[in-house]
């Protein structure tokens, strides 16, 4: 079976798209053009068509940004938006696959969370309202080191295919000890065995086989260029993952990376992107003794490309990624790198930079206008556009708020719309 290429449906989304001319913004392109003051952005057919001063487009409605910051739509991190509503309610959670009691070692890399994605999730407007327009939906470790496959989804609330190709998710280190017979060393042993099976180096149905036939096919894609996210924190584990990936021709993305600053040189040499949580500065586990607030800054300084994400409560409160970025900057990461870490870096890392992550001509017009510094906690998104269409700046939360802002007038609040 050949590569399954998934094409972002530019054509179908343009059916809903609008045209808009955003005038006089401070445009943070998150790209090579950096920040452009007093600049206009023209969107037609849902695509960014022009960026520059004094643009005009007859018949296109325009918005005066009044010099306020305009950024690409932000990356909401790696989580389960669209895959879960309420974390503690199992019936609403579809982000991991469990093989059942007592099964260890086996892996189902063919498990793919994408069919479970629900664009009508209440989490989507809540997250989008805060300026986030794309996310990595993740397959979490259920009962296997390989959680399965996820993908990059846009948060436009539409029935739309993922962008880019599938991402494989792997968990390494002490967090995954229970999945590898209580030793992290066995994680390499088991992955090695799975890779041998995927390459056809093992018989098809020997007793201790880890992969199903479909699993071998799926796994093979990630030995031939597909991206694999490794959740890993400890410096020595990151080194092991890098050399393991290199040996097996895998394309790793490191997520977690509490001690990544200690192995920055190797990360740079291997040109691997690291996603860290700048709020993670405590030795929360023995794998994170070296956690520190300036992890992102140190990595960036060493020439590593840094993405930012939120490790905890990454779905319902994905909007906290903006605060993560602000804290990274507050602890030494240059501001431009802070914005890139939640826009262009994730787009590059997951192979969707031809569609989102920057304000560049030809990209999808997922844009956010802010009332101030987008990395500050005391600012908010004034307007979010997706494919040039102004998104409603409402969510279940703002509507609950509005219901209770007013005093009751005769009838219970249940009558308020």
């Amino acid at each position: 079976m050949k590569y399954l290429f998934l094409i972002a449906c530019l054509l179908s989304s343009s059916a809903f798209a609008q045209n808009v001319l955003i005038k006089n913004a401070t445009v943070h392109t998150a790209g090579t053009r950096g920040t452009l003051k007093n600049t206009d952005v023209l969107v037609q057919g849902g695509i960014i068509r022009a960026i520059g001063p004094n643009l005009s487009a007859p018949g296109v409605s325009s918005v005066d940004a009044k010099g306020k910051p305009l950024t690409p739509g932000l990356f909401a991190g790696l989580g389960d938006i669209g895959l879960e509503e309420v974390s503690a309610e199992k019936s609403t959670v579809d982000a991991s696959f469990s093989l059942g009691e007592g099964v260890t070692g086996q892996m189902r890399p063919e498990f793919d969370v994408v069919p479970a994605f629900n664009p009508n999730s209440m989490l989507i407007p809540i997250t989008r309202l805060e300026g986030f327009t794309f996310t990595a939906i993740s397959a979490n470790a259920g009962s296997s080191l390989l959680g399965g496959q996820g993908a990059i989804m846009r948060l436009n609330g539409k029935y739309e295919d993922p962008m880019g190709s599938r991402i494989l998710f792997a968990s390494m280190g002490s967090g995954a000890d229970e999945l590898s017979g209580s030793s992290r060393a066995a994680q390499y042993m088991l992955l090695d065995q799975a890779i041998r099976e995927a390459r056809g180096l093992s018989p098809y149905d020997y007793r201790q086989a880890l992969l199903t036939p479909a699993g071998r096919e799926a796994m093979n894609k990630f030995l031939l260029g597909g991206r694999t996210v490794f959740h890993v924190e400890r410096a020595s584990d990151i080194r092991q993952v890098l050399s393991f990936a290199k040996k097996n021709g895998m394309r790793p993305v490191i997520v977690g990376g509490s001690e990544a600053w200690q192995v920055a040189a190797q990360l740079k040499a291997d040109n691997v992107v690291v996603f860290v949580d700048a709020l993670q500065n405590l030795p929360s586990s023995f794998d994170q003794i070296g956690a520190r607030s300036d992890n992102a800054a140190l990595l960036q300084k060493a020439g590593v490309r840094v993405g930012l994400y939120r490790a905890d409560d990454a779905s319902q409160n994905a909007r906290k990624v903006r605060q993560v970025a602000g804290n990274a900057v507050s602890n030494g990461l240059p501001w431009e790198a802070g914005l890139a870490a939640i826009t262009s870096v994730p787009a590059d890392a997951f192979g969707v930079a031809d569609k989102v992550g920057r304000i560049e001509v030809g990209l999808i017009a997922d844009l956010v206008l802010w009332n101030g510094d987008p990395l500050e906690v005391n600012t908010f998104a004034q307007q979010v556009w997706m494919s040039g269409q102004a998104m409603p700046m409402k969510s279940r939360q703002t509507q609950l708020r509005d219901r209770y802002m007013n005093e009751e007038n005769g009838l219970p609040r249940a009558y308020q719309k």
């Binding site: 974390s87 309610e89 929360s284 804290n327 507050s330 005391n378 609950l400």
Partner: protein
């Protein structure tokens, strides 16, 4: 120095006497005055400090521009303009900087769920019985939690360390000063009342329901609280009888750790902190408090407090809330980002920003900043001076320490933070943190940055 120590000691004494004096009858044993595990906290000596020409948020809702704060012998001597300092006073230039009271977190599990989160240190929930009023969180505190150091860097000077929410009645919480010591007693806030931790809703019924025991429903929860308090009333009665009956030898009731805590709640000596998310359950707990004649200090998490902001204000009950955490379970589903400001805008309300998190406690100023942004977007215009109350005097009130700390007022403990600018920004840094007048964190001096014993010797390789 000695003189003002004496004044401070007297202030403490009258403070604790006042707390004890509230209970009208002879009490069961183990009152505040008779604590078998007393505070051994001693303030660290320091020369007087004068912070000059800063923007001062008093914590009581006031903002004083270009003002000074003078601390001496552990106490705030004065807040105002052009204060004089004696010879040995260390002068700090506050130009362009902001000064606030030390931040107070009224919901912390530092020490009882410390970093690293290893199984040996999971000491926050005694999940062997739904009513463990007999346990004291302070007996679980590991004083080497690195989280105390990172909280200090965030400007936190006092914390209420609570048991977790797995039980209906989880046990006693303790107020600590954020100063490292070899034992928790070195940190224990002198004269502060104990708190009782109770929990509504999903957690207790999940924990015990999954074991096949009671409670497994919300109605089971309520039956559990009521039974416990009914039992404690009987215990109080037996002590009253003994105390008023001439204390006949041999008649002394047997001390019961569980019931004496609940009795002290009903006598008003112990503050009540209730983990409760939903509006309907908070209303129910207010009726429980009426039934057993106790006062609720604060509802914690309270993600639906905005739905009952008026009844909370009318009852004088605080709400300790997050800026934006929601949705991880059903009872947290209706969380909104305006919760804190909607509670705060009622007259006589008591809105608090709390953490319940080793991450959140480091950035309570940022949590408050998020609230300000949201409320300003609606035209409610929350000012920094108003928001500061959520982080200082209001939590102090819920914890019963507002007479001695929680605001920058003469005579109060010199728990003070100097910020590099407005605290309500992601770029804000606590530059200097003073506890009882002693400089215990300085962002520019590695020697004034504590680390726990656990961090010693980590990473000594070349």
């Amino acid at each position: 120095m000695r003189k003002s120590c004496l004044i401070a000691a007297l202030a403490m004494l009258s403070f604790s006497v006042a707390a004890v004096g509230k209970s009208k009858n002879p009490e069961p044993p183990a009152t505040l005055a008779n604590d078998p595990y007393p505070s051994t906290y001693q303030r660290i000596g320091s020369a007087p400090v004068l912070i000059r020409n800063a923007t001062v948020l008093t914590g009581t809702g006031e903002r004083l521009d270009n003002s000074d704060v003078l601390m001496r012998e552990g106490t705030i001597v004065a807040v105002g303009k052009n204060l004089d300092a004696s010879g040995n006073t260390s002068i700090v230039d506050g130009t362009g900087k902001w000064v606030t009271p030390g931040i107070i977190d009224d919901h912390s599990h530092l020490g009882v769920y410390p970093s690293p989160g290893v199984s040996a240190h999971e000491d926050g929930n005694e999940l062997t019985n739904p009513t463990t009023a007999n346990v004291w969180a302070e007996h679980s505190i590991w004083p080497q939690d690195q989280g105390f150091a990172t909280a200090l860097a965030g400007g936190v000077t006092s914390l209420l360390i609570l048991p977790g929410s797995g039980n209906l009645i989880g046990g006693r919480g303790v107020v600590v000063k954020n100063v490292y010591g070899s034992s928790y007693q070195n940190m224990k806030f002198p004269g502060a009342p104990h708190s009782l931790k109770m929990a509504c809703g999903e957690n207790p019924k999940r924990v015990y329901g999954s074991k096949g025991s009671s409670p497994s429903t919300r109605m089971g929860n309520v039956a559990g609280y009521r039974s416990a308090f009914i039992e404690a009333k009987g215990y109080m009665k037996s002590w009253d009888k003994y105390n008023t009956g001439g204390k006949e030898k041999g008649d002394e009731p047997t001390q019961d750790l569980r019931l004496e805590t609940l009795a002290a709640v009903m006598s008003g000596e112990i503050k009540v902190q209730i983990h409760c998310y939903r509006a309907d359950e908070m209303m129910l707990m207010m009726d429980l408090a009426k039934e057993f004649n106790f006062k609720i200090a604060s509802f914690h998490h309270a993600v639906e407090a905005y739905k009952i902001a008026q009844p909370l204000a009318d009852a004088g009950i605080c709400a300790s809330m997050w800026a934006d955490w929601w949705g991880f379970k059903m009872e947290a589903l209706d969380g909104i980002q305006e919760n804190i400001s909607m509670v705060d805008r009622k007259k006589n309300s008591c809105a608090i920003v709390h953490s319940d998190s080793a991450e959140g406690v480091q950035r309570l100023n940022q949590e408050a900043a998020k609230v300000i942004a949201r409320s300003n977007a609606l035209g409610m215009n929350d000012s920094p001076e108003n928001a500061m109350r959520w982080l200082s005097i209001n939590p102090a009130k819920a914890m019963g320490i507002d007479k001695v700390t929680g605001s920058l007022e003469a005579g109060k403990m010199a728990d003070v933070v100097l910020w590099n600018g407005t605290p309500f920004s992601v770029y804000a840094k606590a530059e200097k943190v003073y506890i009882d007048g002693a400089l215990l964190f300085d962002i520019n001096n590695k020697n004034i940055q504590p680390t726990s014993d656990f961090m010693v010797g980590q990473g000594v390789n070349p």
